[in-house]
Subunit: 328 residues, 2 copies
DNA sequence: CTGAAAGCGCTTACAG
DNA sequence: CTGAAAGCGCTTACAG
């Protein structure tokens, strides 16, 4: 069964393919009587015609696809929500969001050349040559940065800010000896290191002891061992800033295994506010991100890039907030 | 800067576009001397040429994209892992996996027509007319089913099996009065109902009291209220099968709030084995899914569909297992 | 062994 | 107001 083309619609409505194209693309600068327009639209609908995206892309050199490239680490609920919002907001502009999990050996270039997206949105920094190649191919690129510097055309989620907030909160509660519970998954290193940097900076600023840093596996035994080492020595740790809520839950379980009380003996703060955080015993204090604001910003950034806007939208401020619960 | 085309490669290597196409696509049935082949490949590499996917798709009517449509519910870690595996396994066949979050008002048809994928993989059942339209357009469709019936060309994850396993495990521990903790998120209803059906069937089979069923929000107060109602009356509930680990953690927190002991007073079993499960107090018993086996099967199913294989691969058996921990 | 030519389905400058 | 024609970049049947 052959594909339905604009020629079929043209025949059905008794006009030329040119007219079909004008009508279906809503070209209002060409004067076509409303009656003709309606006839064409009816025919298209009756036939169930949809234009070939391949032909359109070939002709115009651009598609209506926005490719969102996810990094190598596990998608947390944050990214998940972000994608939802993004999909919805860009859909209003007729843009479809396609997500690619950047795993395995295939070079990124193969993918974006295959989809010819209008824009590529990276949720982790791109390799420099990848980014250059995409721009050269006329694709709008919105990258990501993990630090607080504002790069133009870049989405920064200042990870250091998270670490700072954690320490700030712990210091307010009177803690002076803080540890950082890093994830054991290497793929998270880029994020974990930035958050740690924030923890270190804030400890310095507040005159606290430099933080101890250890990786904590997501199991009780590993966490208990780390907790034991933190409590040994002349200056036992009394508060833990964890990479995220899962690591924080592991620390909580380690404290429990060691017979320590939270928050009396050791306080714990996570990041993300996953559902399990508020259900933990004690309920976990954590840093929450304003995903909606970030998603709206990202959508606006993509749209601005597509419109060749001179002024990219302003990054949302204050996207992070501490949710104080019983673990601190 | 104009796009690099096969004509550029042809000029650079002193052959025709025909020869370039033959060489670059590895057509071994045309006799082209190795020297020429090498010259063409060198030129292509030197120039950094990659064929236009749009043109290729337009010409051949098929792309190298596999579109994976995610349903409206939150991606759990299970789906996440599944996508990883799928991406890796299909990459070996030169296929790129693109994921679409099916939210918002845009009809699915617009998307698949825009990407012209080789195959579409649905992780929840498709609407009938969507599926028909895709097949008509020559797209291979691998759908999903939530029950135990084997539909051809369909990926079944028998949700009822999960509910059965939960009850089987609880009954082995001596429980006779079981409750089902349903999620309060309506989008999960399709899954929750199937799992509940399994719980009900297994209760019947084992001659247990018909299960009480209540939705449990992911917060302590809501869970505590539900727990209270379960414990009231002449036949207090002594075991809870939860929709998933998050709901199970909520039940755990509700039991704690009500001063009940787990598992002595009430046992709890979840589904998924999220990291927080093993870190909970007490560590949560749960049903684990063999994601690897399912992903491998899915990849094989897609490939079989693309190859027009007569025999689709066999569904993996025994993909679910109970991980017994301290909550039962 | 290699190339000229047609055609996939669309859009748009141009001619009428 | 509407249509004939060119051309986006590729592949492949056909001719040499």
């Amino acid at each position: 069964m052959p594909r339905l083309t604009s020629a079929d619609v043209a025949r059905e409505s008794g006009v030329s393919r040119t007219t079909v194209s004008y009508v279906l693309n809503g070209k209002s600068d060409v004067a076509i009587p409303e009656a003709t327009r309606q006839r064409v639209r009816d025919a298209a609908a009756r036939l169930g015609y949809t234009p070939s995206a391949a032909a359109r892309t070939l002709r115009s050199g651009r598609s209506d696809l926005v490719l969102c490239v996810l990094p190598d680490w596990t998608i947390g609920p944050v990214i998940d929500t972000l994608l939802d919002h993004l999909t919805t907001e860009l859909a209003e502009r007729g843009l479809s969001v396609l997500v690619h999990h950047d795993r395995g050996p295939r070079p990124l270039a193969e993918l974006w050349r295959a989809v010819t997206p209008r824009a590529v949105l990276g949720l982790a920094p791109f390799a420099e040559d990848d980014e250059r190649a995409m721009r050269q191919a006329g694709i709008q690129v919105v990258g990501s940065a993990l630090d607080e510097d504002d790069h133009p055309g870049t989405f920064s989620v200042p990870q250091t800010r998270i670490g700072r907030l954690q320490v700030e909160h712990l210091a307010e509660r009177g803690h002076r000896v803080v540890a950082y519970a890093a994830p054991s998954d290497d793929r998270l290193a880029a994020f974990a290191d930035r958050r740690l940097a924030g923890v270190v900076l804030e400890c310095e600023r507040l005159g606290l002891t430099a933080p101890r840093v250890d990786a904590v596996d997501l199991d009780v035994a590993s966490a208990a061992a780390v907790v034991r080492s933190w409590r040994a020595g002349p200056e036992p740790v009394t508060a833990v800033a964890a990479y995220n809520d899962e690591v924080a839950l592991a620390v909580l379980s380690g404290l429990r295994a060691e017979g320590l009380r939270t928050p009396q003996d050791v306080a714990v703060i996570g990041v993300d506010d996953i559902p399990a955080a508020r259900l933990a015993a004690p309920a976990l204090t954590t840093v929450w991100q304003a995903i909606d604001a970030q998603a709206t910003y990202l959508a606006a950034a993509v749209i601005a890039a597509l419109d060749d806007a001179v002024d990219p939208p302003a990054q949302p401020a204050d996207v992070f907030h501490v949710i104080a619960r019983d673990s601190t």
